[in-house]
Amino acid sequence: MALRIVHDTTTAEEVVQEVFVRLWRNAASFAAERGNVQAWLYRITHNLALNEVRRRQSRPVTAEHFDWGVEGEQLVDPYADAEPSRALWLRERGQAIRRALAQLPAPQRRAIALAFFGGLSQAEVAAAVGEPLGTVKSRIRVGMQRLRELLATEGINADSLDDFS
């Protein structure tokens, strides 16, 4: 995920190293809530990657950076070491979420992606896509509601984080 956000191998590796430093520092506090470690790792990776993007501000972010399609760009099989049934499930889960995203109207999908993966505020999204702020706010709100419905049709319950494992 770090590479998908920062789009630079060296920076992504630095982000991953920092994630594991934080994991090491927080290891004791995870003992009681082991089930949330995966979600925590995703969250901290997302935060650190966005911090890097904002810190560098080296180039404009465009929604196309986050247009992965349903299959996703798979350069090397990332699940080569995983147990086969788990690898299958992990692939299915990613595809289900990308499938839901792909069914959103493009303007809604782009606004959500620019905000979440590009680290842009609603006002910055509006400037990036050349639309009024009110339009972008509406796209984000309606798009997220629609995404919840689409995820539900994929069997993903927005009220639970059980699939983070």
Partner: protein, 250 residues
């Protein structure tokens, strides 16, 4: 314009979960969520949806060398913290409370740093963190508690410095976000007279970290205070005091 805290914020919660709100909007949402169970439930759903987006990123197989780099970095940080603990821990608690062995001392230091730094990572390349480490390693280092006033009851801060020194680090939590044309300003007071000092802004959650250069030794001042001021700072305080603490030796 800031909305009233009792206005429901459900129309902002998806953008909040995506991290797309402005700081003043975040402050408004978080103030409302504290007292509204219905909006907290909606926020939890929005957050869960946003977290699913993380799983949409197509995975990438890490380069083979990354594992070794991660392990090397974690070992380096561990060694750095052990060295720091050995230098600092004996002074942050009564010696009689220290059992033999290093792990308890490391935990004590980490708790101290965690308390001071909050969720911020301790990065030795960061000048603020670097100064903080240098200060904590000095035998006469003080950690002065700075409390929120009635104008900022949820705020608190610590000023870390050496009484005979002039450099310190002010770490704040819970300060409200300010309009773009306003900033927080630090004041050091001697005989009740405020001397202007550093300007700083705060991140989400009111977290701020600011190096404070005192014009003379910290021991020449009795009080540290913080007020909101115009963006360029003020020669004398014009805003209400939001943080205040005494600079007395422990």
């Amino acid at each position: 314009m800031m909305n009233l805290p009792n206005r429901h914020v459900d129309d902002l919660l998806d953008a909040y979960a995506l991290g797309a709100l402005e700081p003043y909007e975040v402050a408004e949402v978080e103030a409302h969520l504290e007292g509204c169970a219905a909006c907290r439930r909606t926020a939890a759903r929005a957050r869960a949806t946003a977290q699913r987006l993380m799983l949409a990123t197509p995975p990438v197989a890490p380069p083979p060398a990354l594992r070794a780099k991660v392990l090397a970095r974690v070992h380096a940080v561990a060694a750095q913290e052990r060295a720091l603990t050995d230098a600092v821990a004996p002074r942050v608690t009564a010696p009689s409370a220290l059992p033999a062995g290093g792990s308890r001392r490391r935990n004590l230091l980490r708790r101290l740093l965690d308390t001071i730094m909050g969720e911020e990572a301790l990065n030795a390349d960061d000048p603020v963190a670097s100064l903080l480490i240098q200060l904590l390693a000095q035998p006469t280092c003080e950690v002065w508690n700075v409390g929120g006033t009635k104008d900022a009851p949820k705020a608190n801060a610590r000023l870390v410095g050496v009484p005979n020194g002039r450099d310190g680090v002010l770490v704040t939590n819970g300060l409200g976000a300010l309009a773009p044309d306003r900033t927080y300003q630090v004041w050091l007071l001697h005989d009740g007279k405020p001397v202007p000092n550093a300007l700083f802004s705060v991140a989400n959650g009111g977290r701020g970290r600011q190096i404070v250069h005192a014009p003379t030794r910290f021991s020449d001042f009795e009080v540290v205070a913080v007020t909101p001021e115009p963006a360029t700072g003020s020669p004398a305080p014009t805003g209400p005091i939001v943080l205040m603490g005494t600079l007395t030796a422990a």
